[in-house]
């Protein structure tokens, strides 16, 4: 998937057009700022109070990144264990699925009780929200090996470790990275849920305050900041993917 200059051009034009229409509508219909602030008002809010947003963005980013990294570590570890031990698989798979089915919003208040109102509870929520797809994809990647390759490993007396490190693990990388992309966007949700439920820091907290004070432009700046953070983490994952899998460049080319 190459991105050409025309692609960037059309996207930019479309964004500018959307903002222009939005600005015009709020002015023509005199929409009150607390219902839908004009883009200009949101921009002014962002520029005049940027240290506030920077600080809270940093807090949220920290929570989601740490949560995401832990989710990756826990997810990969669980997947390896599940693939290699039938007993452990039978023991933990049901719990993992149940954990995934329970709405995380419902667990959030409990986590706050257990882990406190600080960053830890938010990190844990980000972890909980995002680890499931990693486990599932990683298991698939470790298992989806061509029968012939496993035969080859046996002929070459590879042993479990070499079969894992030279065949299964690299084979799982594309699966892992596609789940990491999903997880990176989920971790934002986790962190914000945590901030909604309790605490006094982070963009989620700002959104709550903005709502109670009917300062809608503040909500919007927080929302935009959240999207930027999500994009940032997503971009970092794609960057890591490129570095870790140089061969993938040729996969799509050959079809």
């Amino acid at each position: 998937m190459g991105i050409s200059k025309t692609d960037i051009g059309t996207t930019t034009i479309s964004i500018i057009a959307t903002l222009a229409v939005w600005e015009l509508l709020t002015r023509i219909f005199h929409i009150p700022g607390f219902i839908l602030p004009a883009p200009s008002a949101i921009f002014i809010e962002a520029v005049t109070r940027y240290p506030l947003y920077l600080y809270h963005s940093w807090i949220t980013f920290y929570e989601m990144v740490v949560g995401f990294l832990l989710a990756a570590a826990v997810g990969v570890f669980l997947a390896v264990v599940i693939v290699y031990s039938r007993i452990i698989r039978n023991m933990i798979y049901p719990q993992i699925v149940v954990l995934q089915i329970v709405p995380k919003v419902a667990i959030a208040p409990l986590l706050l009780i257990w882990a406190g109102y600080g960053l830890t509870s938010k990190v844990l929520l980000a972890l909980l929200v995002s680890f499931f797809p990693i486990v599932v994809n990683m298991v698939t990647g470790l298992v989806a090996i061509e029968e012939e390759l496993l035969d080859l490993c046996r002929i070459l007396h590879s042993g479990r470790w070499q079969e894992f490190s030279k065949v299964r693990l690299p084979n799982a990388l594309p699966y892992l990275f596609s789940s990491l992309k999903v997880a990176s966007t989920l971790s934002v949700i986790g962190a914000v849920i945590g901030e909604f439920v309790g605490g006094n820091e982070g963009l989620g907290h700002l959104i709550i305050i903005a709502n109670t004070e009917l300062r809608t432009s503040m909500s919007f700046v927080s929302l935009f900041s959240l999207s930027i953070l999500g994009f940032l983490l997503y971009g970092l994952v794609i960057l890591a993917e490129r570095v870790c899998m140089p061969w993938e460049r040729w996969q799509s080319a050959s079809g």
Binding site: E148, D151, C153, I155, L156, S158, K166, V167, S254
Partner: protein, 264 residues
């Protein structure tokens, strides 16, 4: 494991298959894949196996490689009973199954790494093999950058790198188009003439079977039994003209008749 027979040198590379049977358990009752199969392959001999789909050809190769246990009967390789996967075997499958994250060179080196053989000495061997297969210029490429035929040639190099005494090939060119396939037959014979391996090759193409082989094993449909073993009395090296030789066409026609009759 049996102890090696006296005069083991004479047996080097020899495969002996004795009244081999294989029954797979399955949901709708047991499936008899092979029944009382017996034959022997001499050192440095090139033997091909033809037979209808599902007659147990892959099963036979996997049992010889020690990847599958027979239900009854036995296989000895160089005088030793086969009881587990043999590392003295080079295996080529219908698909190249290269590791897509490794370059061609690193793919060819995989057996060296897994068998913990000295890397430095074998780098030279790998380069020689790649040269022989016409792939040296592509050694730093990833598999996805190569055509199907080139990938399969790389897979053949990988099968030969640890200098096994047996080469087992399961429809190695089945996935290729006809022209590439004929090219690959020459390539294979060229490589084989330089590194004389005892070779067993499964194919669906009768003319390919005759063109490559010293002997052709014809198998019956399920359960797989040996219908006939045909000596191919054609001179080597085989050339494109070989296919015009009346002995070649006669051989192909005879095997075709045999398989056709079996099918009725």
């Amino acid at each position: 494991m049996e102890t090696s027979a006296p005069g083991e040198e004479r047996h080097r590379g020899t495969i002996e298959v004795r009244s081999l049977s294989k029954v797979y358990p399955s949901q709708d009752g047991p499936v008899q894949a092979l029944s009382e199969v017996s034959f022997a392959v001499a050192d440095a001999e090139f033997v091909t196996i033809v037979g209808h789909s599902g007659c147990g050809k892959s099963t036979l190769l996997r049992i010889i490689a020690g990847l599958l246990l027979p239900s009854s009967g036995s296989v000895t390789v160089r005088g030793r009973g086969v009881s587990g996967p043999l590392s003295d075997v080079g295996m080529v499958f219908q698909r190249p199954v290269l590791l897509k994250w490794r370059t061609i060179f690193d793919n060819v080196m995989l057996p060296i790494e897994m068998l913990h053989l000295p890397r430095q000495e074998n780098r030279e061997r790998a380069l020689d093999l790649l040269k022989l297969a016409g792939l040296v210029d592509f050694r730093h490429h990833y598999p996805a950058q190569l055509s199907g035929g080139m990938q399969q040639r790389a897979a053949i190099c990988r099968a030969l790198i640890h200098d096994p005494s047996l080469l087992l090939m399961d429809e190695p060119f089945g996935a290729l188009d006809l022209m590439t396939r004929e090219e690959m037959n020459f390539e294979l014979l060229r490589i084989w003439s330089q590194r004389r391996k005892t070779t067993l090759l499964v194919t669906h193409s009768i003319s390919e079977a005759v063109f490559l082989a010293d002997r052709v094993i014809v198998m019956t449909p399920r359960p797989g039994m040996i219908a006939d073993i045909i000596d191919v009395k054609l001179p080597r090296p085989r050339m494109p003209e070989t296919k015009l030789d009346p002995r070649f066409t006669e051989c192909v026609r005879m095997i075709g008749r045999k398989i056709g009759l079996l099918y009725i």
